[in-house]
């Protein structure tokens, strides 16, 4: 097939594209906390939270082919670890991130033990049970001294006082005021650092020897085993790592809102399902998929946030959504998911790659680290 342009991978053009992309990303990264409205910064933090959670799940499903419908439990472990340590024991929120990471890793690796024996729908059910049990567990009467029961915990974030330094750079201050008047940019940067950290970990793992083992398991478990991949240890480690990474946005949510409750969306199973859908819509098995999916999800839910009032719906599409008396954001996203499964089973990133391939030839054809193709269509093992 003839295309308009040919780009040599690793050549000048390909570097130029990368450079421009990086410049735009960095510009936006600083533009948001300094120039955007408070509401928009808030939405961005929400999106960043979701990005980190979806990326953690991507390691598991997108790259290793193991499903989890209970990742909200690990998000919850992060939120509660931070909440408990900060509000009950007076820790600094930053220190709690490491503890949350370790606890979630251990719990994740333990939960993975059934994953070594069971597959597909059974694994889905076991993880679903975990996701259902977690909010009940933290609400339990016997644990109220620790978790605060159904009321949850408060004062789980930073204390901002008048004595805090401002860290201005020649009058320019992208971090906001740590003295309590304008703290959103500060939370934004914590979220950003977590997202960058999770991204770098995922990228590092996926491109390493461990990543090749994971993709091998996903694409053909039997072949992976006869090549010497230790299935049990690899799966347990990936499960643990994925859980640990998912705890970080959980901790972030406790830090940002200053409270933890067992009914907040991302701690219930609804959160786990959101992580899953966001990742699949964006493109499972690609590093940028979850980032794009989460961004789009938050964009749509924010855009339609006040559509429960029909007068707020823009004229032409009013008849479509005026029947709904709740904001239709998740519904729209669900429809998007169904449509995408038909036209682009590998998500937005997969669709984008196909589109680009129409117009631009990249030579040599990049093999990348794989799409989720083989998760959707079972490997042809005879």
């Amino acid at each position: 097939m003839k295309t308009i342009a040919t780009i040599k991978s690793g050549g000048t053009a390909s570097w130029a594209i990368r450079l421009v992309t990086a410049a735009v990303v960095v510009y936006l990264m600083f533009w948001i906390p300094t120039s955007a409205s408070n509401g928009m910064i808030d939405s961005c933090i929400t999106a960043l939270t979701l990005m980190a959670a979806a990326m953690s799940l991507n390691l598991l499903l997108g790259y290793t082919g193991l499903i989890s419908i209970g990742h909200s439990a690990f998000f919850g472990i992060g939120a509660y670890t931070t909440g408990i340590l900060v509000s009950r024991y007076g820790w600094s929120p930053f220190q709690t991130l490491a503890v949350a990471f370790v606890i979630a890793f251990v719990v994740g690796a333990l939960v993975s033990l059934p994953a070594l024996r069971i597959k597909g729908v059974y694994l889905a059910l076991v993880t679903l049970a975990l996701g259902l049990v977690f909010p009940q567990l933290v609400k339990a009467q016997k644990l109220e001294w620790l978790t605060g029961g159904a009321r949850g915990l408060d004062k789980t974030g930073f204390r901002f006082t008048k004595d805090n330094p401002t860290y201005e750079i020649f009058g320019w201050n992208p971090w906001g005021s740590l003295r309590g008047e304008n703290v959103k940019p500060f939370h934004y940067w914590i979220a950003m650092i977590i997202v960058i950290g999770v991204y770098l970990v995922c990228r590092g793992v996926v491109k390493s020897r461990a990543g090749r083992s994971m993709i091998a398991i996903r694409d053909n478990e039997t072949a992976a085993a006869v090549m010497g991949v230790n299935l049990a240890i690899t799966k347990a480690l990936v499960f643990g790592l994925s859980a640990a990474l998912c705890a970080l946005p959980g901790s972030l949510s406790a830090i940002r809102t200053g409270n933890v409750t067992p009914d907040s969306t991302n701690i219930t199973v609804q959160g786990a399902i959101t992580f899953l859908i966001v990742m699949v819509v964006g493109g499972a098995g690609s590093l940028w998929g979850p980032i794009i999916g989460a961004g789009l999800f938050v964009f749509i839910t924010e855009l339609t946030g006040d559509w429960s009032d029909p007068d707020q719906i823009p004229g032409i599409i009013r008849p479509l959504f005026s029947w709904s008396n709740t904001p239709p954001g998740s519904g729209i996203f669900a429809i998007l998911l169904i449509v995408l499964m038909f036209v682009a089973p590998f998500g937005i990133v997969g669709m984008w790659r196909r589109l680009v391939a129409r117009f631009v030839t990249v030579t040599p054809r990049p093999a990348g680290t794989g799409t989720i193709e083989s998760v959707v269509s079972a490997p042809a093992e005879a």
């Binding site: 694409d219 072949a223 006869v226 193709e373 042809a380």
Partner: protein
């Protein structure tokens, strides 16, 4: 001492036993071929040796018992398997497939890179396609890749399950020539499974005939083809 010696090897799937008490020997430097019709249990034999299904009896490698080892430990002991249907990783590049074959090795990336060059030398067509997705290779190329990938673990014994499956006769001949060359030049011992007797007999040091999970005849290619009943019943020529 034989490189592989399986005694009273039985294996199956769940409650079903497919393989019944077979004895199998591969001497160092041999190419041993297991012939049998579709469903005879050839693949099951390979899986029982590589440890990917539960098995009874004993399997010895160079005199060491490997019956209780997990599949990855058996690879580390020097047994590499090319599974039926190749099992290459379609989304990884040819190069990364080879690197994946070195997962068990810890002798440094320089040694791994040197081995890759060596197998690229043996399989020039893979060298030309090293950055392509493995899924975009032809059937014959994928089979070569599967073999090269197995060799990346530096095996003493290569298990090869019906490499001719789905390949044109000419490609199969080319492939078998490569296996013979590896056997002669690199001293690789090979246990190879085939349905088609014509293709594999001539390069076999010894042949086992497998029928419904039992070994019904054993000997050199000449011995088996000299026996009229065997030739007519099993070899089909």
């Amino acid at each position: 001492m034989s490189i592989l010696h399986a005694r009273q090897l039985s294996a199956g799937y769940g409650p079903v036993t497919v393989l019944h008490d077979i004895e199998l020997v591969v001497e160092e430097g041999e190419i041993v071929v297991i012939l049998g019709a579709n469903g005879a249990g050839k693949t099951t034999t390979m899986r029982a040796v590589s440890g990917t299904i539960p098995r009874q009896g004993s399997v010895e490698l160079n005199g060491h018992d490997i019956t209780k080892l997990s599949p990855d430990a058996i690879v580390r002991q020097g047994v590499a398997q090319v599974p039926q249907g190749r099992g290459t990783f379609p989304e990884l590049s040819v190069h990364d497939n080879l690197r994946a074959g070195a997962i068990t090795r810890h002798d440094g990336s320089a040694a791994v890179a040197a081995d890759m060059e060596r197998w690229y030398g043996q399989f020039p067509r893979l060298a030309e396609r090293k950055d392509q997705r493995a899924g975009s290779l032809s059937g014959g190329e994928q089979q070569m890749l599967a073999i090269a990938r197995a060799l990346m673990s530096r095996p003493k014994l290569l298990l090869c399950d019906e490499p001719s499956l789905g390949l044109a006769p000419l490609i199969t001949q080319e492939l078998f020539a490569v296996i013979e060359r590896l056997n002669k030049e690199e001293g690789l011992s090979v246990l190879l499974v085939e349905q088609n007797a014509n293709l594999a007999m001539h390069m076999a040091s010894r042949v086992y005939l497998l029928e419904t999970g039992r070994i019904v005849a054993e000997g050199s290619a000449e011995e088996l083809s000299a026996d009229d009943t065997i030739r007519k019943a099993y070899l089909g020529f």
